[in-house]
């Protein structure tokens, strides 16, 4: 019997993976094949990437369409033969993958995401078993040793947050939730240019479930919620399936692995609001309210979900935990540089030849990612600007691409690593359009609490339109700077506070785009028709 893998993650599906699987099934109706729907390896430019198991290991072909199947079979697909032009060789030898340092994405694309057996067979649930043999404080100490920092953007040390929740007194209050603590996974992944959270959930969901269960043991929480953006229907389905299996097999529920400890897990869907990625807004949304940002303090660690002590961590933060418990905090800390320990999943996106997930220890440069991994733009034109760290991150010109990818080094040049999203633009980009979009996005997604963010962003769009049309351009450029100051100073959260990043960097590094003859300037679109 021949085992063939056809991925089922969102990207592979978006490029026709189901049609490929169907074509394979039909063409092989009278052959003995075992078709496995794996996650994705994250080599998205090769999707759909199908793999065949051979005695030389798994062999890859991609990007495959359903029309390619007959020719592939003729050229010896089922034996892993090299004849067809889509032959990529042994998967693990593909340089893009081979040179990565995969800890979090170690299993991605290798296993069937909803097979608990596969997960366990590939090292899953070792961390939970070790955690069950430890005290809560010992688990927290292990996470502290690892140096793991939050992967959702703010890079706060995870161990310190957990310690606060562990030490918090949950007994106060008369609400039906008193005595309880919660683990909340932030799976809102709203940043454009990011999909690493999604890939974890779609390719290796048990790892997240295990990480949350360990977090529950560490702080004494018996319930977890995964707050998932509604834009991720595939992840939703896969998570629900994996949770049901984990419950049925005793990895979740009232008595986790007969330890006497309970941990329940539920997915809650967001409803299309970017701001609900901000942790306090997320908590209000989880409670069934408008997702408005709360004033801190109190910290969510002390007064979080339903007023109770709560760990809020990003998907990747929680997904790193099983490795840390299985291999030890030291093993994780051995990767990285300075205060940025471990690995980060960079996501190469936008106008890039080889887009995908690149997990590396901190310290590589942006240029290595863009050139060695990314292979330049998909359009073949020169790269002009790169936005790192999501819609609130700065646009970086070529002079900054040698900055090492680490939280502190980026912050020195006024940029952010954030969730590791890297969006590439070629030389046809109009940076005035990009600055305008940053303001427009802030206007659309503001939670409405602060006037500068709610109103200032709309003014920002108008001012940029005037700059484009050369109406009192110099005065409006000054006005735009003032607006950025106001947003920075008068915003409660980073939505308003960091929207100036993309705007200012566009102005500073690409000034020509703000001084064009108005007749040659391009015309950006708006949500409002």
């Amino acid at each position: 019997m021949t085992r063939i893998y056809v991925p089922r993650d969102t990207t592979a599906l978006s490029l026709g993976a189901n049609e490929v699987a169907e074509a394979l099934k039909q063409a092989c109706a009278d052959r003995d094949i075992d078709l496995v729907r794996n996650g994705s390896r994250g080599l998205f430019w090769l999707e759909p990437l199908i793999e065949v198991e051979t005695d030389r290991g798994r062999v890859a072909y991609g990007p495959v369409t359903s029309e390619d199947i007959p020719a592939l079979l003729d050229e010896g697909l089922l034996d892993g033969q090299p004849g067809h032009p889509l032959y990529q060789g042994p998967t693990e030898e593909i340089p893009y993958l081979k040179s990565q340092q995969r800890l979090t994405f170690e299993r991605a694309g290798i296993i069937d995401p909803v097979s608990l057996d596969d997960y366990i067979h590939h090292g899953g649930y070792v961390g939970l078993r070790k955690a069950l043999a430890k005290t809560a404080q010992e688990i927290v100490d292990e996470v502290k040793t690892s140096g793991l920092r939050g992967r959702g953007g703010a890079a706060f040390p995870a161990g310190i947050k957990w310690q606060t929740v562990l030490d918090a007194d949950a007994r106060t209050g008369s609400s039906p939730y008193s005595k309880r603590k919660f683990i909340v996974c932030n799976a809102d992944e709203g940043d454009s240019g990011t999909f690493a959270d999604r890939l974890v959930m779609e390719a290796d969901p048990f790892m997240l479930i295990e990480g949350m269960t360990i977090a529950g043991l560490a702080v004494g929480a018996d319930t977890g919620y995964i707050y998932l953006r509604s834009e991720y229907p595939v992840a939703h389905q896969i998570l629900n399936e994996a949770i049901a299996t984990a419950e049925a097999e005793g990895y979740l529920g009232d008595n986790v692995l007969n330890s006497g400890k309970a941990f329940h897990l539920e997915v809650r869907l967001g409803a299309g609001a970017y701001i609900c990625g901000e942790e306090t807004s997320l908590l209000d949304s989880l409670e069934g309210k408008r997702g408005q940002v709360r004033v801190k303090p109190p910290l969510p660690a002390l007064k979080g979900a339903f007023g109770q002590p709560t760990v809020v961590n990003n998907v990747l933060t929680l997904a790193a935990v099983p490795f840390i418990l299985a291999e030890g905090g030291e093993a994780y800390a051995d990767y990285g540089m300075g205060r940025s320990r471990g690995t980060l999943a960079f996501q190469l996106t936008g106008n890039i030849e080889r887009g995908g997930v690149v997990e590396l220890a901190f310290g590589h440069t942006l240029r290595e990612l863009l050139e060695d991994y990314g292979g330049g733009t998909a359009s073949g034109r020169p790269i002009r600007a790169v936005q790192v760290g999501g819609p609130l991150g700065a646009y970086m010109p070529e002079s900054q691409w040698d900055t090492p990818l680490d939280y502190e080094a980026f912050s020195e040049v006024g940029a952010v690593v954030g969730h590791g999203g890297i969006v590439v633009f070629d030389d046809t980009v109009d940076m005035l359009d990009q600055a305008r979009f940053a303001m427009e996005f802030c206007a659309v997604e503001s939670c409405g609490k602060c006037t500068p963010c709610r109103i200032g962003s709309t003014r920002g769009v108008e001012v940029i339109d005037r700059i484009r049309n050369n109406e009192h351009r110099d005065n409006n450029l000054i006005l735009l700077e003032d607006l950025c100051d106001t947003l920075e100073d008068g915003s409660l959260c980073a939505m308003g506070g960091m929207t100036p990043n993309p705007v200012r960097s566009a102005l500073q590094y690409f000034p020509d785009d703000f001084h064009r003859d108005s007749t040659t300037a391009s015309q950006a679109t708006s949500e409002e028709a």
Partner: protein, 178 residues
């Protein structure tokens, strides 16, 4: 203003009993409001005005609170939507792959702007800010399927497919009012 396939004030078709059952089913869980609104949206495509008092009563909160929540979230339309929901990603990574011309094409082909429904009730067009498919943009979501590297031509084919398939199942699809 566009005309919807159904009249938004119509309360006649409102599955009142079902909504009440749905509210009761979620009521015991912490933070039940979003799950309730999602389940109504899944079934009806939107949140009818007449559902608001039923939810408010069931959860013992004010109607204003329910309204406040519905209006906060982009997902919860308060008017009927088309049989198909087309979302075009407008975010940065898709911009880098030409989504600005794709959105223009979608609006022109369907003859509507964002947040509008075609007069025949087939499509509602919505903006979306990232579908997590940013390495292979531009991306769109048609109902629950996400599509990558969508050219204008590919979009036309997707729209075609969406209209031809359900029509064979529902040959008596209601005519739009005009």
């Amino acid at each position: 203003m566009h005309i919807s396939a159904q009249d938004s004030s119509a309360g006649a078709d409102l599955p009142r009993d079902w909504i009440q059952v749905e509210v009761a089913a979620h009521k015991a869980k912490p933070g039940p409001l979003l799950p309730i609104l999602h389940s109504i949206r899944n079934r009806l495509g939107y949140i009818p005005e007449a559902a608001v008092p039923l939810i408010a009563e069931g959860l013992q909160i004010t109607r204003a609170e329910v309204h406040g929540v519905i209006s906060f979230y982009h997902d919860f339309n308060t008017h009927p939507v088309g049989r198909n929901r087309l979302q075009v990603c407008r975010a940065e990574a898709c911009q880098a792959r030409g989504c600005r011309s794709l959105e223009a094409h979608a609006q022109e082909t369907l003859g509507i702007g964002y947040h509008q429904t075609t007069p025949d009730g087939e499509f509602t067009l919505e903006p979306v800010y990232c579908l997590g498919n940013c390495a292979t943009g531009p991306s769109v979501r048609l109902n629950d399927d996400i599509h990558g590297r969508v050219t204008p031509k590919r979009l036309d084919a997707l729209l075609d497919q969406a209209t031809t398939q359900p029509l064979t199942l529902q040959p008596l699809a209601e005519e739009p009012e005009s």
